[in-house]
Symmetry: C2
C-alpha cells in the first residue's frame, strides 16, 4: 500500500467583493484596523443564487484543471461545512450527483469550522488508507455570508466566501505526519449561529487562539521529531492578521515563514489553509509545512506536511 | 498497536410514545399497514425541551453505566447527526463541554443519515488507529421529530427519536472487517429537509434499498471471504418492516437471523443499528454480524463484525 498525501489543491473565490474601506464610517473603523488588526481589505461574497454545493463544484473544477483528475477515479468525496445546502441530505451527496461520480464513491460531510481542513485531512487520509482507496477529494466550503449579519462589526468585515478542493492520492507532493487535536467544548458559545445568524466573541476567540495554538504547534512538532526552526512554512488558519502575527511571535518564527494572504477576500473558515497550500505546492524550496486550524467549537488541530515530490 | 473494535454500546429512547393505532382514521391506515408494512406500532418522541445534545448525553450515560468508561480516557468523540443543536458549532463540541472531556479529545460531527453508523464506524476506527488512540465514542443522534410534519403520512408514522453511543476501543468484543460504501447523489431529493420540513419519497427509497442493498451485502461478504450462509446476524437499518424482510428474502437468509425490533419506537435513522447491536453483544453464539445502513443521500454502507471476546 502506497502512502497517501496531498497531490494537488483547487480553489474558488467568488468575484464579488465588499470593500472594508467603504464601510469605515458605518463601523467607526480606520485604516489601521483594516490593514493591521484584521488585515482584511475586502471580503468576497458569493452571488445570492450560488449555493454551497456550487462553491464545491467551482473548486472541484479548478482541481480538475490543475490535476487532470478523472471523475471515475474518485473513491471518496468529503465536504467540510457548517453551511450546507440542506441540513438533510449532506452536501457531498449533491456534489456527487452533479459531478456524476461513481456509485461506489464514499461520501460524507464533516461538520467543523476553522479547524476543519486539518481534522479533515487526517480523517479522510485515515479513512482512505483503511479502505484501500487511492484517490479522494476533501472539499472545504463554508460560505459564512449565509449567516453573517452585514451590520455586525465582529463578523461582517472579516469573513469571506471561498472553497478549496484537495486531492488526496497515492502519488502525493506532501505527506502528512502526526497530528494534535483539541476541543474546548465549554466555550461553544463564543462562535455560534443562533436562528441563522452568526455571533462571535472576537476577544474570547483571539485569547483562546493566542494561548492555545503556539504550545499546540510545539507539541505537534515534537511528535514529528522536528524543531520549530526547521519548519519552512507555518500555514495558520487566517483568523485575522493580528492572530496570525501573535502566534508567529510566540513561536519565535519570522513572518516570512508565516504567510498572511487574505487581504483581498477575507477569512473563509476551513478553506484558508488549502488556499495558502496551493501556493506552496509549486515551490520546491518548501520541504516542511506546519498546519494549524482553530476556531468554532472551540476546536483546533495541527499537523506537519513533508514534501516527497 | 492493538486492533480497534466495538467494546460496548449505550442507548437512549425517550419515554414519550405516539401510537399509530390511534392515528388510523387520520391517515386512513389499517392494522396490516401498521404491523406488516411499516412494522411501527408507536413512535418515540423527545420532549420539546430536549435537544440533540441531550439525547447524546443520555446515550453516553447508559454507555458509562454499561462499560465503566471514564471520561478522562476519551480521546475522540464523534456525533453523527443531521439535526444538530446548532448548525455552528458541531454538536460534539457541546457534548464534549457538558461531559467535561479532556481538552486533548478530538471532536467532530459527521453529517449522514441512515447509513451514518456504518460509515461512522469505519471513519472513527480509521481515524483513531491512524492517530494512536485507544478509546473513542461514536454517538448517533438524529431526532427526526425536529423536522417531521405530524400530518405527513410518509414520515410521521415511521420515524422515532433515539440515540446510540458506541465505545470503540483496543479491548473490543467485535472487530470490523472490510466495508463497502456507495452514493447515488442524483437521488438526493428523495429524502430531504426543505425549510425545516422532512420530505420522503417512500416508494423511491424502498426501490433503491431493495435493488441496491442485497448485492451490496453480497459484495461486502465476498470482500470479507465469508459466505452469506455463514453470517450469524444481519443488522439492517430498520427503515421499515417490509424493506428489512425484502432484503432478507433477496439474500435468501431466514428472518431469525435478521432482527426487526423497532415496533415500540420507530426508525431512529443512524441509531437503529447500534440499538440492535446492543442486544447481540451479550450473546456469545453470535460470532459474525453483517451491518448495512442505507437512506439519506442516497447513501449506503455495509460491513462485517467478527466476535473476538
Amino acid at each position: 500500500m502506497s502512502i497517501l498525501g496531498i497531490e494537488n489543491v483547487g480553489s474558488y473565490v467568488p468575484e464579488t467583493r465588499i470593500s472594508n474601506y467603504e464601510r469605515k464610517a458605518q463601523f467607526a473603523i480606520d485604516d489601521h484596523f483594516i490593514e493591521e488588526k484584521i488585515g482584511v481589505h475586502r471580503v468576497s461574497r458569493k452571488s445570492p443564487e450560488e449555493e454551497t454545493s456550487d462553491l464545491c463544484l467551482s473548486a472541484y473544477a479548478d482541481l480538475e484543471t490543475r490535476s487532470g483528475l478523472r471523475r471515475e477515479e474518485v473513491e471518496a468525496l468529503v465536504v467540510v461545512t457548517q453551511n450546507p445546502d440542506y441540513a438533510i441530505p449532506h452536501t457531498s451527496a449533491l456534489v456527487h450527483g452533479r459531478l456524476g461520480l461513481p456509485e461506489s464513491c464514499a461520501c460524507f460531510d464533516i461538520s467543523l469550522g476553522c479547524s476543519g481542513f486539518v481534522y479533515g485531512l487526517s480523517v479522510v487520509t485515515a479513512f482512505m488508507a483503511a479502505n484501500g482507496m487511492k484517490k479522494g477529494v476533501l472539499i472545504t466550503a463554508d460560505p459564512y455570508s449565509k449567516v453573517v449579519n452585514p451590520d455586525d462589526k465582529n463578523t461582517a468585515l472579516l469573513f469571506g466566501d471561498a472553497a478549496g478542493a484537495t486531492l488526496i492520492s497515492t502519488t502525493p507532493v506532501f505527506v502528512p505526519g502526526r497530528y494534535t487535536f483539541g476541543t474546548m467544548g465549554s466555550e461553544f458559545d463564543k462562535l455560534i449561529a443562533r436562528d441563522g445568524e452568526l455571533y462571535m466573541n472576537g476577544r474570547a476567540v483571539f485569547n483562546f487562539a493566542a494561548k492555545t495554538i503556539p504550545p499546540d504547534i510545539e507539541k505537534m512538532a515534537r511528535r514529528n521529531d522536528i524543531a520549530i526552526a526547521d519548519i519552512d512554512r507555518f500555514l495558520l488558519h487566517q483568523g485575522s492578521k493580528i492572530i496570525v502575527e501573535t502566534i508567529a511571535r510566540k513561536l519565535g518564527v519570522p513572518l516570512s515563514k508565516v504567510p498572511f494572504a487574505i487581504c483581498g477576500f477575507g477569512n473563509s473558515c476551513a478553506s484558508t489553509i488549502p488556499l495558502l497550500l496551493q501556493s506552496e505546492l509549486a515551490d520546491p524550496a518548501v520541504k516542511t509545512i506546519a498546519l494549524s486550524g482553530f476556531g468554532v467549537g472551540l476546536s483546533w488541530a495541527s499537523g506537519l506536511l513533508r514534501r516527497v515530490a
